[in-house]
Assembly symmetry: D2
Homo-oligomer: 404 residues x 4
């Protein structure tokens, strides 16, 4: 039997990242064979290496299966031919062999050249047409849209850790609660100051625990001082923040004494009722009813926010988006172009946001529960750096560091 052969190329930090080894192992595991056509090794850490391999298998299907895995890894076909396109058989339904996207930079070979895919996110498909290839959620695919099938003629760039990425290196070495959080605070403070100076977008994803743990004033200060370009949250963050502004409690617990307040269990409902009376948070701020807190500072500074609803919401506030498809779309709009995303004690909103982010956005996840960070990484947001600590004290210390 004459073996079938195809040539693949890769470049970048091939040894550093272990990419080359994984590639060679894949070939051998598949019972196939390879020959190194050329290999240029980078001499320094910043130099890139490049390799060209000829891969051989006994049958075309075996070769095809192996090729699929090599492309996923980050190699690409030297002679891809045009990407395969098939029309979607019906709305929100794609051909069986659709290509599922990752959150890494991706190109498709189209009419003789590699074309970058726009709006990259994980778990989408690539639709070609109009201004060029674009990542889409399957549910947004319309019947007849040309969908990229198989990863043949797809190029998925591996992400190599660059020097800049190492600014948070100390945190990246795993998720341990036995690390000094003061150091983490300092690094985050430096990063925020730098991004503010550079005019970059810093997005904060925040859960209601921020308010319960007394972190509200500190987050409000970050907003007031211009460190935050947008906030992604749920109904509860806003409700408890406004509850704190109006009655000094959060879920009925007095924020000053930590004791249950008299009739405190009514307060979150009263807060919602007060907003409904004015018609919106902005109107309640305008009318002078809400005079402090995160939502107040957001309204005052004109910093945009999205409140996504959830199944467990009381109220919800008039601003809360209860249609999850619309909420996802508004989250994705806000996250677009972010330079840093800081996730504060909310698994739901953090994973939702993580799903939408390209892998090159720096992501910091603060939670008292180490499992949250692990889960985020398990779901593909491998770039997330975890800080296991009390989010209230973290924010207070961060705001202090920035004010000095």
């Amino acid at each position: 039997m004459r073996p079938r052969a195809r040539r693949f190329t890769a470049s970048g930090h091939l040894i550093d990242s272990g990419l080359l080894t994984r590639a060679l192992n894949l070939v051998l595991e598949a019972g196939a064979d390879y020959e190194v056509v050329s290999f240029v090794m980078g001499r320094t850490r910043t130099d890139e290496s490049s390799v060209e391999l000829e891969v051989r298998a006994d049958t075309e299907p075996a070769l095809e299966a192996l090729a699929t895995r090599l492309v996923d890894l980050g190699l690409w076909d030297r002679a891809p031919g045009d990407v395969q396109l098939k029309p979607a058989p019906r709305d929100s339904c794609v051909p069986d062999d659709f290509y599922a996207t990752t959150n890494r930079p991706t190109e498709v070979f189209l009419e003789g050249s590699w074309r970058e895919v726009a709006d990259m996110r994980m778990d989408g498909v690539i639709v070609v047409g109009g201004p060029g290839p674009r990542c889409r959620l399957i549910r947004d695919v319309r019947r007849g849209d040309p969908v990229v099938c198989t990863n043949r003629a797809v190029r998925i760039h591996p992400l190599f850790r660059d020097a800049e990425g190492e600014e948070f290196g100390f945190m990246a070495s795993g998720v341990s609660s036995e690390r000094s959080v003061s150091v983490a605070v300092r690094r985050v403070a430096e990063a925020l100051a730098r991004e503010k100076a550079a005019g970059s977008r810093v997005i904060v994803v925040a859960g209601p625990v921020v308010i319960h743990t007394g972190g509200g004033p500190a987050l409000a200060a970050l907003v007031r001082d211009g460190y935050v370009s947008g906030v992604l949250a749920g109904n509860a963050l806003a409700v408890h923040d406004i509850e704190g502004a109006l009655y000094g409690t959060s879920l009925g617990i007095d924020l000053a004494t930590g004791l249950p307040a008299r009739e405190g269990h009514r307060n979150h409902l009263r807060a919602i009722n007060a907003v409904f009376r004015h018609g919106s948070i902005a109107a309640a701020v305008e009318a002078g009813e809400i005079r402090s807190g995160v939502m107040y500072e957001l309204a005052r500074a004109g910093v945009p926010y999205v409140l996504a609803g959830s199944l467990r919401d009381d109220g919800p506030l008039p601003e809360t988006e209860m249609d999850m498809l619309k909420a996802q779309a508004r989250y994705a709009d806000m996250a677009r172009g972010a330079s840093i995303v800081i996730m504060l004690s909310t698994m739901l909103h953090s994973i939702a946001t993580g799903n939408m982010l390209p892998a090159w956005v720096r992501t910091i996840c603060v939670d008292i529960n180490p499992a949250v960070v692990t889960k985020l990484a398990d779901r593909g947001s491998g770039q997330a750096i975890g800080i296991v600590t009390d989010v209230g004290l973290f924010l207070r210390t961060l705001a202090d560091a920035l004010q000095r």
Copy 2:
């Protein structure tokens, strides 16, 4: 100054529950005074006690404030007069002094008699009209609806732990992972067998961790064998269950080997795509494409389920309700009349369901994270009993126990 006085009554396990002591302490803390008009002490554990107190304060407002707290506790005014009703000033907005409901049995005094409030749940208001007083979410209140204001002429029955409630007593003594789960399994199995025999409704609230941890076949068996009257879940449970049925993986991890499956990351998207091709889960079962799993058994047995969407959903499946207001309504419909609710590894859906349940529904919460149970209780579902364990092994052991 002549003191103002009002008389309050209470009956039930007043000493056992500590209710009487709390009542007397409230009076003294308020700087007021009391006289015991009559006190009949129950001689045995099952006998009820009853008390009538005359409470005196220096001013009418002080007396009113104190009365509010006594009523919340479970005492009631001997001469309440009719409940106060005020019209809602606008849609989804109630008068400032609205009465916020608890999840305990509640009555209002109306036209000379105590009338039971229907559809009790926590964090609602009481609207009077039509067939009688009824608990409503504020957002469902329409302009002009007569809303109960203040708790004057409201009677909130305390819940006393009865003999039946003690069947799970061993678990109620706190949330500790250092307890033998085998015992808990046996008790839950006995309870399920009893409820099935009695034809009662057992509702299961389940998160996707059920599938990831290999608990899918066991839950499917419980459904097949008729122990489950309804399932409340999210999109992810159904997606990963169907992914398991079609491809043997859950989130891309092979359920048989625990290893990442080849191209496994595409599988949950393929599962969604397969359902879209048929148009619905039921259609895919009908067509013989889905041939096992929780969703398969539900479809076969005609057991109803609700899939609520969330911000982090992929897909979602066509059945998934993405409008959270509708999802809450459908959850509430399903939970109505439940005898036991079993919550399996999902904080979001568990708290959502807990919010809707009257306090007298027995609730069992299984999670590897003790914080989930604590949180549920913090939010008012104090009746929830926690079992801290691996949900996959728990379900397997439970299904084994029921099959013997």
Copy 3:
């Protein structure tokens, strides 16, 4: 059959604490009967109630069994007769029906009067002789010692929550990480300031996580400023504190940068080696080799400390007590007379200390893991109040609060 009867008395907050109800329930559960001979109800919260009950059972053994449980609860026999004493049959071995102590205040009836038992702790026995009744560990009992058997003629005072006990009330309402830690810090700071002013003993139990999380300088400041009367720790706390003082690392992690230090894995061994070169920590401080840190401040201020060894110790340092019987004895000596015990991120040393403390010593337990507090309470130290937070940030914030 003529029923047998005995009379029991109790006084204190009988209703508030639920003691009376539990007593009556015990009687009825035992199939016995009671008559209330007298009952005086306290009119206010601070007034005590008192009760005398006649308890009747059909047989003497039944009455005896019931009496045992009533005494455990806090009632006492009106006519106890002298306590039962039996000689220990051999060293470290007591008669089968020995009375096992709790950590509550306890008396025994001896030669016509109630005599207080000295050195109360849980899980000991009571030996009579010499200066009077005294609590002893079973292993310290010598052959022939007169050991109190059964709880007949034992009086175990219930602990009622007093006004003072409520200073930490907000924390006592359960173990939740969703509380504002700032409030807890303020309360602890106030308590420490008050105890210092009063000249009371504050004992700190500290694990090495204090150092790893950057809390070392703050704890050192507390020692320097006179808030700490003694420290109970293990070898690791001292090793990593000295490692920090000498090389700026903790377990090899640079405390300033959070990054692994070059050859950092050797540092804890080098720290131990340095102390061995001088012969002791005090000598190394004296010689000017150790110039900062917790151990430095302890040595400088002459505040006593005990370092208990453990199975996992490196070294250990010359000061570390590796014989656990001696270590327990030295811990108990240090804990004696403490007014407040603060436990910082160490389950082992905290439970060990908790075992030795009478129930009336206020105990605060700080840990990022809520399970530690639960476990402490499960083992009888019910008075422990938990603060779930990052111990490093907690100590920093506490030291700041005290310096203001």
Copy 4:
């Protein structure tokens, strides 16, 4: 300035493991330079690669510092000269520049050849003399012993994951509680069956949670059926196991009902007292007083065990070793030659044992708390594989799997 040069060699899975890349990066970070003298790349996964590098730096100290780090990584000097030996200045104290061992296979160059170091463990030093180089704890070094200083002429073999190591591969991909534990159980069962057939040593390290969670009978069955060669535990495991055998409770909780047993808090003290009456556990088994449980099966089967004391022990039992130096020595003796070590819910004994194990012993750590596994790895036992689950159900399922 003429650069100074030295040549280093390495062989093995240099690319796979990332070793070569780390080596080159170290050189460049140090501002030094390198030339690849020779490089042979392994063609298949099982083939080894080998490299010889010439490393150049401007000064001798710079070259020396760099060499230190390369040797730690796993390279070795082509012309090492004899290892440096210095006499210990005093008992338990070594020269400042002592070489601190890792748990990887290690050799020293002595009299012209590489000599293997015996008794490897982490955090020791190497003493030369008598039968050859040997790893010792610093505290066991005597004045005058020749101690290896600096890592010059030390060869530390990197550990490459081999095919066999992959038997537990699925678990190695991180610590997540969202994995099917059934799969893990099956793999562990297969491994235990294989080791038993091969006559290898399987050591179990077990905490008292094994008993509290109802895992006692299953562990007893494993012992009875010959799967266990030795048990490392503490006093509490034995106490609660015997408490279960004698009174059916564990820490006073009835193992059959999960409810607190009457006078149950005395039971662990009674268990200890019963053993003291007989003089030893073996004598109590012999006398027929203890008739079931883990300790019973160990005594019956003659399987050795070590009970190490701790600061928090009640009793302790006569067998418990309360001197930690002796306990560590006995643990180390037991662990020697182990093929698999299974750690069951005990951080203290697991870390202690992990410290003593060479890196090539397969280690499985079962705990409901993922932090325990993380901590074990943080402390150098990187080979530990974690299974996050309920240990009681795990053992039951494992014993079932082995009996089928």
